[in-house]
Assembly symmetry: C2
Homo-oligomer: 222 residues x 2
DNA sequence: TTCGTCATGTAATGGGTTACATGATTAC
DNA sequence: GTAATCATGTAACCCATTACATGACGAA
């Protein structure tokens, strides 16, 4: 029953849908692949896993037997408890994916939703992107209004902070515009045919230049 | 005694240093002028004010008498409890301003510090800006490393999210570079003379183009 | 007189971290 | 054999929100 914070639950189910994992690895995935934006501690993760099990969405399996480790030299280090998504869990995740409430546009929530766009149907993707965008636009309106109201009473640093904040939001809006456009293009590109299968096809993403060469410098830093 | 969340305490003291205010107004200032980044509710603010009073950093004063309201038609609507900074409070705030610990580089903490740069000495400003920058740079390193490590295993959307996140950080680094350079320019500009008075002089900020015309459209939106 | 906004508060709850306790496995 | 990292967990606390309760004042 207990609701345990939408976003963590969502992300855990989403990651486990791809493949079973144990807690430790799950947390790493949460904080790297997915986690540009949010980090969870064990103190949050493990109890959450417990409740997901209690809800019947996950089952605990004994860690991969020693034989496994011999077989694949790398890959699966060695696990104690592997969590696997049940049929009900999968179903539940599907529901969460389809559900578009106004919570879905909020910062962290949105990022989590976006991270699983690969498994999201195109129309839901569109709704989420557009919802996010209008959320940001109304935020911009408020900022502009308050700025106009208070402008003169603020010192330069406060003003600069405000300006930078607004620019960040404006930038995200432009990003969303690109994404929405790409989604639309993707839709036009292969219209007419199959419109029914749940998950996304033709991912429609803009192409980008550089800004992330491999650069395998260190890795060992604390 | 109780520590009540650095950042709120800090911001409250900072705002009250400029002028006495009552809770309601304080909260509005927190969420507009200062609050691009963070919103506090009454449930947080009022108890915090209580403990600040208990610490001797604030005193409660009865709200401005009716006469006041007659005198200034606008300005001070009507206050119940006005909070004013005590000498000890001022001193304490001064200490907080001067203190540069590694906490000061974290997202929200940094924003709060920046918002009060107007009352911060130039060298502390520099330390905070540079600390923040290197904090972001190490974050970038981690992101790059993890990206290089996992790149192939990620779907396009996850990758796009990552890319956008990194670009945001890179953008903030560029912003900090500008600010640091301006601070340095400010220093050079009037070197030699008085180097001792606590608070900042010569604010050194880069000039920017537009991105915030008044546009007094609505304001009434929920 | 009723509605909106100003204004102050509190109790229940939520969501999460820290610090701690424990132990297995790998690499040196 | 000892350090690092993998791995799992829990209890105590922290910070803040929500929802609620209360009431004064100004404008329609």
């Amino acid at each position: 029953m207990s609701r345990r914070s939408g976003i963590l639950e969502f992300a855990v189910l989403g990651l486990l849908r791809e493949s079973p994992m144990h807690g430790y690895e799950l947390r790493k995935r949460l904080n790297t692949s997915l986690g540009v934006f949010r980090a969870f501690s064990y103190g949050t993760l493990y109890p959450c896993l417990k409740t997901l099990v209690a809800n019947g969405w996950l089952i605990e399996e004994p860690g991969s037997a020693p034989e496994d480790a011999r077989a694949a030299s790398l890959a699966g280090r060695r696990a104690k408890i592997v969590y696997r998504l049940t049929a009900e869990g999968k179903e539940h995740f599907e529901e969460l994916l389809a559900h578009t409430g106004p919570d879905a546009w909020e910062d962290e929530h949105f990022a989590a939703r976006f991270a699983f766009f690969g498994q999201t149907s195109r129309d839901v993707r569109m709704r989420v992107l557009e919802g996010r965008r209008s959320r940001l636009e109304e935020r911009l309106e408020k900022m502009r209004a308050s700025l106009a109201r208070t402008r003169e009473r603020l010192d330069d640093y406060t003003l600069e902070l405000q300006r930078h904040g607004m620019e960040s939001v404006e930038r995200e809006v432009r990003w969303l515009n690109e994404l929405i456009e790409s989604e639309r293009a993707g839709r036009d590109q292969r219209n007419g045919s199959a419109a029914q299968d749940t998950t996304g096809d033709t991912d429609g993403l803009p192409r980008h230049r550089g800004s992330s060469r491999p650069d395998p410098s260190d890795d060992t830093a604390k």
